[in-house]
């Protein structure tokens, strides 16, 4: 990462220009916290665009079992030297909790995707290493500790 030459306004404009039709919702909680909803099918393209195009760092992803019969995943990014945290939200409808894995493109997503699989039962397609991360190898299948419907 080098000194980030772009301001947040320039970054936001570039994201809008390219993906305005694919962004379902753009919410600015305050100047430094931006939440964007996108369709799961667009996630890989959008995520790779963010990571490759700007000086971006993947912070972490957080999943949430919602009362609306689905699962939410938030992927959090940080733009180097800027105070903004950019969180991309995808919504997965039960029972098909499946999304393409980002691990082949962003190495740092590998562990958290393994974690979300075992704790929430989300399937990450094409993930390179689907072993258990936190739970023991003999953990009963289909038992997900952070799911609310179990």
């Amino acid at each position: 990462m080098s000194e980030n030459l772009m301001t947040w306004k320039q970054i936001a404009k570039k994201i809008h220009d390219k993906y305005d039709d694919k962004i379902l919702k753009w919410h600015e909680h305050n100047d430094n916290r931006i939440y964007v909803d996108i369709d799961p099918k667009d996630w890989i393209e959008f995520g790779r665009f963010l990571f490759d195009e700007f000086d971006t760092r993947f912070i972490i992803a957080s999943a949430l079992d919602t009362p609306w019969d689905g699962m939410e995943i938030l992927y959090h990014f940080d733009f180097h030297n800027l105070p903004q945290v950019f969180s991309v939200r995808v919504f997965l409808k039960k029972p098909k909790l499946e999304i393409e894995s980002m691990a082949p493109y962003i190495k740092a997503t590998e562990w958290i995707e393994r974690e979300m699989t075992e704790l929430f039962g989300i399937t990450f397609k094409n993930h390179p290493d689907m072993r258990h991360l936190l739970l023991p190898d003999d953990w009963p299948e289909g038992n997900y500790p952070l799911r609310r419907d179990q």
């Binding site: 949430l64 190495k107 936190l134 500790p145």
Partner: protein, 394 residues
């Protein structure tokens, strides 16, 4: 012709719960498998059954060494959620506690690293002078560790103005100590030989693995939440971010030593700039919504995300400790290195997942496994230092 060496599930140097399987050919590491989760305590799930106030106490128990970093990120997340700004005096107090903790954490690590390479004097001295820091914290917060100072909208205890001259005097004692460590460690030829060019994490690898803190900064990445998104009083004081380029164990050691100077600078200014005032806003409830809090722990960025449905409990609480991303980078940093250096490299990220390993070496040629315990690894490391000493003639 390779062999597998298991390290863990307790790291021999820092007694942290992680398991490393080193694949070696002769003495050279060819591959590393990392396993974590030996001490998973379900803090995120537990947080959903605690009130917002209790969550701050709960996350304080994630780590015993950097016990104020998690509450710091936690109150930042909750204040972000509720649009709350803590009073100025509280921000200065929070900054002082956070920086004192950074000094004690770096001294603790420096002592362990010294012990591991056979410099037991560095170990004893580092821990002896760490007491000064713990004493200040004790007097200021009532505890040497787990200070329970932070709460949403302020701090729990004010600092008495009458005590400040005594704290400043104690801080003055620390400055010559840092000079001594700087001289003893950064200028020592044997330490150079043991740590320079060892366990290099390149800038490209650091970007790929998204590492943070004193694992990223020695690899040429100027990343620090205190500068990037100044929280508490970091914007009101003058300090510099320490960035080095080499990415090896030496750079990681140097980065931590130099950072302690910056912490001293920050603390001094906070004591001088602190004005009388309230320290707590007495926040009663949090509105529905989501909040993100970040804080620069001694090991890097701590990241907390919380979701509120308007009730007294979080609907979801996510914690990302810095070691979660830093440990993963060992996968590349340790490749091509000697077994005697491996444990030092693995420990150079100052791992802290909640604090606990052995090492397994697997020899593929001989098709066997051998387990090295803490004593074996320290012996190997000490032997390596002796070899280096002999080669250098010191």
């Amino acid at each position: 012709m390779s062999e597998i060496i298991p390290i863990g599930p307790y790291h021999p140097l820092q007694e942290e719960p992680e398991f490393f399987q080193l694949h070696v050919e002769g003495e050279k590491v060819t591959k590393l498998d990392i396993e974590i989760g030996y001490n998973h305590r379900g803090i995120e799930k537990l947080a959903e059954s605690k009130s917002w106030d209790q969550v701050v106490f709960l996350v304080e128990r994630i780590c015993g060494i950097c016990s104020t970093s998690h509450p710091a990120a936690s109150v930042c997340a909750m204040e972000d959620l509720g649009g709350i700004e803590a009073p100025e005096r509280a921000q200065y107090i929070r900054t002082i506690v956070a920086e004192l903790e950074r000094i004690h954490s770096h001294l603790l690590w420096l002592g362990l690293a010294g012990h591991f390479i056979g410099y037991n004097t560095v170990w004893m001295w580092a821990w002896k002078y760490r007491e000064i820091v713990c004493d200040i914290l004790d007097k200021m917060t009532g505890n040497r560790q787990s200070y329970a100072m932070f709460k949403v909208g302020g701090v729990r205890r004010d600092v008495l103005d009458d005590d400040i001259p005594a704290f400043k005097k104690m801080m003055d004692k620390l400055k010559p100590v840092l000079d001594m460590f700087k001289g003893a460690v950064i200028d020592d030829p044997v330490i150079h030989a043991r740590t320079k060019g060892v366990g290099v994490l390149t800038k490209e690898q650091a970007v790929e693995y998204c590492v943070v803190g004193p694992t990223a900064r020695p690899s040429g990445i100027a990343i620090d939440v205190r500068k990037d998104e100044p929280y508490f009083a970091y914007d009101w004081v003058d300090w510099d971010i320490v960035v080095l380029q080499e990415g090896d164990v030496f750079a990681k050691v140097a980065c931590r030593i130099l950072e302690m100077y910056e912490s001293v600078k920050i603390i001094d200014q906070c004591f001088d700039k602190m004005k009388p005032g309230v320290v707590d806003l007495h926040v009663k409830e949090l509105s529905p919504g989501e909040g993100i809090g970040r804080a620069e722990a001694p090991r890097g960025e701590v990241y907390h995300y919380c979701r509120s449905d308007g009730s007294n409990f979080p609907a979801r609480y996510k914690v990302r400790a810095p070691s979660y991303v830093n440990i993963f980078s060992n996968e590349v940093a340790v490749i091509g290195e000697k077994v005697a250096d491996a444990a030092l490299i693995l420990a150079a990220v100052d791992p802290c997942y909640c604090c606990t390993e052995r090492m397994v070496v697997v020899d593929h040629e001989k098709n066997k496994e051998r387990v090295l315990n803490s004593g074996d690894l320290i012996r190997l490391s000490h032997e390596r230092t002796k070899e280096v000493r002999k080669a250098l003639g010191v």
